[in-house]
Every structure is written in C-alpha cells, then in structure tokens.
C-alpha cells in the first residue's frame, strides 16, 4: 500500500473514566473516500477531534504525510492541508454568509495582518468565496447573517467554509446531520463532485447507509470506542460480525434503508 495520507496509531482518548476512543489505528489512503460508521456514542466525533487536533490524545499518535502531527496546533493543521466540518454546526453566527466563507479563504492567504487596508479591496478572496457559495447553492443568501439561515442552509455553509480552505483532506462529521432527507442527496452530490474535480481525500462520518455504500472506497466500523471492522463496502455489508453487532440491528442493508430514529 502507498503511504497513508492521514494515519492514527493506537489512538486513545479517555474522559475521566470513560474511554471514548480505545486503541484505534486507522490509515486513510490518499485520494480515497473513507467512511467511519457506528452507532451514536461509538467515538466517531472524538476520533475526528483527535485527528483534527481539537483534542490531544491520551495516548497514541497522529501522522499526516509521514509527519508526526500529534502536537501540532489546530490552526496549523489547516495550513498543511487538513480541514474539517462539524457535526454540531459551528459558524460565525452574526457575520454574513459571505464573510463566513471569505474568512476561510483569507485564513489560507497572507493578508491577515494588513491592518489598514479595507477588506473589500482584496477581491480575490471575495470571488473565491462567492464561487464556493455558488457550488453549495448558497449564493443567493450571501448577504444574510449566518444565524438566520434555516438548518439546511447552515449545513451547506458548514461545508462551504470547509471547501473554501482548499484542504487536501476533508474530515466530514455527519455533514447532513439534521437535514431534511430530500436535501441529503444534493449535498452529498456536491461533496462527491468536489472530490472528483479536485481529487481530495475524504473521511466521512455518516448515518445514511445509501450514501456511505455508494460514496466510500473503504469503511471503518466503530463500536464502543473500538474498531470493529474495516473493509470495502461489499466486505462490510457481508461481514457477519458487523451485521450482528451493528448493521443488523439498525439497518436493513438489502433494502438500503436508513433507520427511523
């Protein structure tokens, strides 16, 4: 196998007595779409927080392009090509939709310490931000404060902020969480399109099994903080352990339905 783009080695995170992530090792191949599935509380978000640097692991290491980044601050990870979105919407609520995205573009440039030049004279970041808004279908709402967007719009904006940073690897934590089901395919199609155009690597946490099965090259199953299984979508769908412990109870794979919760 080629060198993984992103790798977690024996990652462990304990909150007091609760071990949310327990000795998880994970390799993400460059250019792949890698999904992480598992019931609520399995530790998926915590794993993302370890990979993205929001939490320090209790033990274990994180590697990006062969470099140990375990101690690299969150903001520096954006500059080496990592980006993430959040399961719980995490925006700049009182700033406009455009400004939310423009900031993500600005963050990657060198103009953030230009104290006395007006922001609107830097046209490239604004244009870039508008392009990304177009891509996710939020261009019309560019001038609104982010806080007034409906939930679906906020999820789109969450994705737009991530895309605006041009990451090589996108860590997507339930990008469609709470969205009306008819909006889900559209958003996932956008993600898929971005990936095909730009060749980015994707790590996806998602509950919609249709989406997971169709988009993923590889799937990792987590349960109670541990890795339960890993393989191609076909392998996972045929894995009896996974069927028993997780998928079997929650999903009817043959029908490809998502659970009603």
């Amino acid at each position: 196998m080629t060198e993984p783009l992103l790798e977690g080695r024996q990652l462990r995170k304990a909150f007091g007595g609760l071990v949310a992530v327990d000795e998880v090792s994970l390799q993400i191949a460059p250019g792949s779409a890698h999904s992480i599935i598992g019931p609520n509380g399995a530790g998926k978000t915590t794993l993302f927080n370890l990979l993205s640097g929001r939490y320090r692991p209790t033990s274990g290491t994180v590697w990006f392009k062969g470099r140990n980044i375990t101690k690299l601050p969150v903001y520096q990870r954006a500059h080496i090509g990592m980006g993430r979105s959040f399961q719980i919407t995490n925006l700049f609520p009182q700033l406009t939709v455009l400004e939310n995205v423009r900031l993500a573009v600005q963050a990657k440039g060198n103009d953030s310490f230009r104290l006395l030049r007006r922001v609107d004279t830097f046209t490239a970041p604004i244009e870039k931000a508008l392009e990304v808004l177009e891509l996710v279908g939020l261009r019309e709402s560019a001038a609104l404060p982010a806080s007034v967007l409906p939930h679906g719009g906020k999820r789109k904006l969450e994705l737009a902020i991530l895309l605006a940073g041009d990451p090589e690897i996108l860590l997507l934590d339930e990008p469609t969480a709470g969205m009306a089901s008819e909006q889900v395919p559209e958003l996932m199609a956008t993600i898929d399109r971005v990936r095909r155009d730009g060749g980015q690597t994707i790590v996806l946490v998602e509950h919609n099994m249709n989406v997971v099965m169709s988009i993923s090259d590889r799937i990792t199953v987590m349960h109670l903080g541990r890795l339960l299984a890993e393989g191609t979508p076909t392998e996972i769908a045929g894995n009896t352990l996974v069927q028993d412990v997780y998928l079997g109870q929650l999903y009817d794979l043959s029908a490809g339905e998502t659970p009603q919760s």
Partner: protein, 369 residues
C-alpha cells in the same frame, strides 16, 4: 465626483459634527459673550468663562471616548473581556507624570518622551498580560486582569515616592500645550487625537485583521479550525487597545496636571464598560455616544441637589446609584445599546422594503423565535 457624493451621503453627518466640534469653542464664546482663550492677567491666562469651561467638558468626553473605544475594541470587537482596563490608563499616566516631575529633563523633551514611553509601555503591558494569560478562557482572563489592576492600584496608593494616595501634581507643561494656559490648543489636540483614533479604529475594523477579530468574537474555536492563530490576533487587539487607553491616560494627566492612584481604580474600568454597553457593544459609534451621554449627564447633574423629605441629597454623592439606574433603563429599552439597537431596527425596516429580503427576515424571526 461620484465618490465625493457617496462619501457625503455615508459620512456627511460625521463631517458635519466634526465641523461643529471645530467651531464649538467659538459658538459657546459668541453665545455667552465669553472669550474662547480665557482671560489674560499679566503674562498668564486665567481659564475663566463659559467657553473654556465647556472646552474642558468636551476634552473629557474625547478622552473618555478614546478609553471606551479601546475597551470596545477588546470587548465588543474581539470578544475579550478585561476588567483591568484602568491599568493601561493609569500606567501610562504615571510614566508620563514621573518623566515630567521626577527627572531633570527639559519640559518639552520630558513631554515628548513621556508620550512615547507611556504609550509604548501600555502596548508592552498588553503584550505581557496577553502572553501570560490570554490562554486562559473568558472569565479567568477577566479576573486576572482585575487582580492585576487592583494590585497596581494598591501599589501606587502606598508608594511614597509618588505621594501615595494623594498622587502628585504636574508643575509644568509646555505652555502651548498646557490646558491651564492654552486650553483652546489643548482642545484641538484632544479632538485631533480622538478623531484620528476613531478613524484608525474604523479602518482597522474594516481590514482583514478586523475581520479576524470579529471571527474570534463570534467563534474562536472555528476561527482556529480554519487556520487562524487566534492567540496572535487577540494579543494584537490587546496591544492596540492598551496603547489607545494609554494615550487617553496621558491626555487625562495633561488635562488635570495631576497623577494619582484613582487613575488605576475600578472607575476607569467600569465606566468604559458601561459606556460601551449603553452606546452599543461592537459598534464604532456606540462607545462615543455612551461616553458623551454619560459624561454630559454627570456634568449636568453633578451639582444638583434634590430635597427628599427633610434631607437634601447631592447628586454627586449618589452618582453611582444614578449610573446604575441609567444602565438598567437603557439596557431594557435598547437591548443592543443605543447604536446597536438602532442599527438592527434600520436593517429590519430596509428588509420590509423589498419582498425577497422580507421573506428572509420572516424566516429569521421564525428561526430565532
């Protein structure tokens, strides 16, 4: 010509007020038949008459506005809560005063050096406090700054060298600057510092750096996640705010020709905070309106006496109480401060104009409701 037109449309009223402030000493002089420069006696000037009296009031408004604006940069624009703003104000005041009174330097040189060193020390103090404590979250940072300011207050209240609680008077300032001699000049100097401070702050908040400040206020976690080293920006904000407050402190010392520990006291932390909230947190004009409003009220009411039953109460003695009442009232009527509430109201009215945005603001109301 078009740009001039749009400038006048956008900022014309500010220009109008600025011209009004330029003319103010002469307007008062004409209206009251007093001299804008005071009354000459021998080769000195006596500051007597309505014009110079009102100049002093406005000078105080400019100084308090600077202080409130600098507080707002931290609190309103960057989201950093400090309870030690008096530290910058007082420290630069002491540095300036000490250079003038306790060194053998020539007055002009001491003044220049005092301004530079006072402002630089305030900036460095901001940097030091920030490096030591900005990693602390919200309330812990606020408490640390409060403790630091109180320690400085106690230190200078006990320091015999600077006359402890009494503080010390500044004997001599360059005559052209001295508010007891050339108040009109000093009026224009503070007006200039205030206007330049305001314009610089406005430009800063329209710059990419200001955009990051607001992003930190809105959501520091996400700001980091998209790649901003937020600590550096918070430090920068603290340094700029510190320098601005330091400049205000120096002007205050020049005006009163006195330095004392009261400049480090809680008043000069709480007042800019109240002025900012009353005027509108995170708005450019709010702190100015808050400072002007509160100070003019203070001056207008200070010497009034109200008879209550048998007792008569001097307003000055219960000013804190009145301030609290004003604060509660304003915050109830204007939940986002005067300017902030006005801006929201105007935005809503604009949206009512065209149907598309009316729909979104309806959606907005549904969302927030």
């Amino acid at each position: 010509m078009n740009s001039l037109k749009s400038f006048l449309k956008r900022d014309g009223w500010m220009l109008f007020i600025f011209i009004g402030l330029l003319a103010f000493p002469f307007i008062v002089a004409t209206l009251t038949g007093s001299s804008p420069t005071g009354v000459p006696r021998g080769d000195r000037m006596i500051m007597r008459g309505e014009s110079v009296r009102w100049q002093a009031v406005l000078i105080e408004v400019f100084i308090l506005s600077l202080l409130a604006m600098s507080y707002n940069l931290l609190f309103g624009f960057t989201g950093v809560v400090s309870f030690g703003h008096a530290l910058f104000f007082g420290l630069s005041g002491y540095i300036f005063g000490i250079l003038l009174e306790y060194t053998a330097l020539d007055t002009g040189l001491a003044t220049g050096l005092g301004i530079v060193l006072g402002i630089a020390a305030s900036g460095l103090l901001g940097l030091g406090i920030g490096l030591a404590t900005l990693r602390l979250k919200g309330v812990y940072f606020a408490i640390f700054t409060l403790a630091l300011a109180e320690m400085a207050y106690i230190f200078f209240s006990r320091l015999q060298l600077t006359k402890a609680e009494d503080g010390f008077a500044i004997g001599e300032l360059p005559v052209w600057l001295d508010p007891t001699q050339s108040r009109l000049t000093f009026y224009y100097i503070t007006l200039a510092v205030f206007v330049v401070g305001f314009l610089l702050l406005r430009r800063l908040m329209a710059s990419p750096t200001g955009a990051v400040f607001k992003a930190i206020r809105e959501n520091e976690d996400r700001a980091q996640s998209i790649g901003f080293n937020t600590l550096r920006f918070k430090l920068l904000s603290l340094v700029i705010a510190g320098m601005m407050a330091g400049a205000a402190g120096i002007l205050q010392v020049m005006l009163n020709k006195k330095v004392g520990p009261e400049m480090l006291g809680l008043t000069y932390t709480i007042d800019p905070l109240l002025m900012t909230i009353i005027g509108g947190t995170g708005t450019l004009l709010g702190p100015v309106i808050g400072a002007a409003g509160l100070h003019l009220l203070d001056v207008g009411l200070r010497d009034q006496v109200i008879a209550l039953g048998g007792a008569s109460i001097r307003i000055a003695d219960v000013w804190g109480l009145i301030l609290g009442a004003i604060f509660i009232l304003v915050v109830m009527v204007f939940p986002y401060g005067i300017v902030g509430t006005y801006q929201r109201w105007r935005l809503k009215r604009q949206h009512r104009g065209d149907p598309a945005s009316a729909a979104t603001s309806r959606a907005a109301r549904r969302q927030s409701g």
